[in-house]
């Protein structure tokens, strides 16, 4: 019976043809490494956020008087299993960002941003940016002390534009800050706006961007760890079952780690200070952004001049976007580029150190360390054109070997 229904549908929708052409006849390189699974894991993480988020919306109340209790009493204590949903959503946000970071670093390592994949990279960057905003707006919703004061500090950051020499007079920064908060203070209007953004506008934009991203990945074909474009007809393996089952097994492993945190280690995803209801008259002792923003935050606060700090951390984002154009070498993949590999390691270590520095108190030593690692971070981006020039030299000297 079920089989007959299935056939009836298939005769009309041609689903099995679609499956055959898109999943089986679609060929991928055989030598894809483990890090290539981070993209799929990000997709899984997105699905988890959407599903858990829908359930949270049923009980959460976007109202400054009741938001905290709806999260910490109704959801955590009153409705059965909603604690699990909240744990999943909070841990899920952190895992999502972690996986996206790993995905980005993988893309950089294998130079997946290069021709013909520049557009994939650019759309990916926009996804990353929108994802950061989604996380930021979501963090305000439980209306705890960290939610509130974290946003106070974040909304202050644009005002550093106003300390610039000439454009400072225009008070652009203050305007942006007021626009972010929906007024002079963080209150009901802010919460309402953030709720709307967080639960439907930003996720919808993400969904759209993700579709474009995945389409572009398909259009260009998956890159190769060796940095050599393969002849798909001869060397490729069918996406299904070769990749689907392999990455399916990885995803199970990923979920196992994820649920370990969900059940046994939530103290970093639902931090203690956020169980204190928001109080505009009581500044908590430790205010720092979430870990995924800490590298930018360290760059911002290590530079003595506020305006320059602001420019520097935004420049990091812009340079990340421009990566395909900074790196114009004919060679691809760190496996074949020793100079690039060295600078990549510098880049990874600098990002990690900057993040960890963000969790530490702003002492003069830490500020100095912050400056040093900001410099090494920029050194990575600035070295790319130089490395590219050198590699063009090698490439020409060898008579432009087969790519």
């Amino acid at each position: 019976m079920l089989g007959r229904i299935g056939r009836w549908i298939d005769e009309r929708a041609h689903l099995s043809e679609l499956w055959q052409s898109q999943m089986v006849d679609y060929k991928v390189p055989k030598n894809l490494t483990f890090p290539y699974a981070f993209g799929i894991m990000a997709l899984v993480a997105f699905a988890i956020q959407v599903i858990s988020g829908i359930f949270l919306t049923m009980y959460y109340q976007p109202n400054v008087h009741t938001a905290f209790d709806s999260a910490n009493y109704t959801i955590m204590k009153e409705v059965p299993f909603m604690w699990l949903v909240r744990h999943v959503h909070a841990a899920g946000a952190n895992f999502f960002l972690a996986v996206v970071y790993l995905h980005i670093f993988t893309g950089i390592y294998y130079n997946a941003y290069k021709k013909p994949r520049e557009l994939t990279w650019i759309v990916g960057w926009v996804i990353y940016f929108v994802l950061l905003t989604t996380a930021l707006t979501g963090y305000l919703l439980p209306w705890g002390q960290l939610s509130y004061w974290g946003m106070v500090v974040t909304a202050e950051i644009p005002t550093s534009i106003d300390s610039a020499p000439i454009i400072g007079k225009l008070k652009i920064g203050e305007t942006i800050s007021i626009w972010m908060k929906g007024g002079y203070e963080i209150g009901q209007i802010t919460l309402g706006r953030f709720f709307g953004l967080h639960i439907w506008l930003l996720p919808l934009i993400l969904l759209l961007l993700l579709s474009i991203h995945l389409y572009l990945v398909r259009a260009a074909g998956i890159s190769n760890p060796e940095g050599i474009e393969i002849d798909k007809k001869k060397e490729g393996v069918p996406f299904h079952p070769y990749m689907t089952l392999k990455e399916g097994a990885y995803v199970m492993g990923y979920l196992a780690v994820f649920f370990f945190f969900v059940f046994f280690h939530m103290s970093h995803f639902l931090p203690a200070d956020n169980y204190d209801p928001a109080d505009p008259f009581k500044t908590p002792a430790h205010i720092a952004p979430e870990w995924y923003l800490l590298a930018y935050y360290t760059i911002f606060r290590s530079i003595p001049d506020k305006f320059l700090g602001f420019v520097a951390f935004n420049l990091t984002l812009v340079l990340l976007l421009l990566l395909p154009f900074l790196d114009f070498s004919p060679l691809k993949s760190a496996r074949r580029r020793p100079l690039f590999l060295i600078m990549f390691i510098v880049f990874v270590i600098s990002s990690m150190v900057l993040t960890v520095l963000g969790t530490m108190p702003p002492t003069p030593t830490n500020a100095l360390l912050g400056l040093i690692f900001t410099a090494t971070l920029f050194a990575f981006f600035l070295s790319l054109p130089i490395i590219s020039l050198i590699e063009w030299g090698w490439y020409k000297a060898r008579g432009g070997e087969k790519k």
């Binding site: 008087h65 392999k246 199970m252 370990f260 204190d276």
Partner: protein, 210 residues
């Protein structure tokens, strides 16, 4: 090979530091004698007694709304019951604060601020801080307007903490259930992962792709 070990290694160290144990971040630490820590942790034996002690010593100023415990003057007010019939035992915060505005303001007049609700304080501060603060508020938070009501009564203080813990955290039975659920979920995922991997091996061998 070396590269794989290196990148995996630093990634794991990085996430260990930011997600599990940050060896660089500085946090104030408070001490608590082991015998009292044991009492504070033993929700099953002491939470009930702790609640009574709370009512005697703290309820004049503090509520524990998530347990439907309101400040004494509110508790004595007949309006409370009417409201609870309408809204449920745990009143919405805006209703509570609006209807009993005068009671709360009277406390504010005496202490400079409304003493905080203690429903989630255990999760925010931890037992060590609560123990030290309640016994000697001035020493932990100089200039605070909270009086030292528990001086010389560490054991009873520990019992009050056990009560606060019982309100803030899931009950021991619930915790056990959650642990079983967690272990079950993780085991299921690992088994599925392994099975998927083995199945893939068989299919690929059949297809000659191994």
């Amino acid at each position: 090979m070396i590269k794989t070990v290196f990148f995996t290694g630093i990634t794991l160290i990085f996430f260990y530091i930011i997600w599990i144990h940050n060896i660089f971040a500085h946090r104030e630490k408070y001490e608590m004698p082991a015998q009292y820590a044991k009492i504070a942790d033993d929700v099953k034996s002491y939470a009930k007694e702790g609640k009574q002690l709370f009512e005697q010593n703290c309820q004049a100023c503090h509520s524990v709304r998530y347990d439907a415990v309101y400040i004494s003057s509110v508790q004595a007010n007949p309006k409370l019951q009417t409201l609870q019939e309408k809204y449920g035992k745990v009143l919405p915060r805006d209703v509570y604060e609006a209807v009993f505005y005068e009671d709360l303001m009277a406390l504010k007049q005496s202490f400079g601020k409304v003493p905080p609700d203690l429903s989630t304080i255990y999760l925010v501060k931890g037992k060590e801080y609560l123990f030290n603060f309640t016994l000697e508020p001035q020493k932990v938070l100089p200039g605070t307007s909270m009086p030292a009501v528990m001086t010389g009564r560490p054991e009873e203080t520990a019992k009050i903490i056990a009560y606060l813990k019982s309100v803030a955290e899931p009950s021991p039975e619930e915790k056990n259930k959650r642990m079983l659920m967690g272990v079950g979920t993780i085991a299921y995922l690992i088994v599925m992962g392994v099975l998927l991997w083995l199945w893939r091996g068989r299919i690929l061998r059949k297809m000659g792709l191994h």
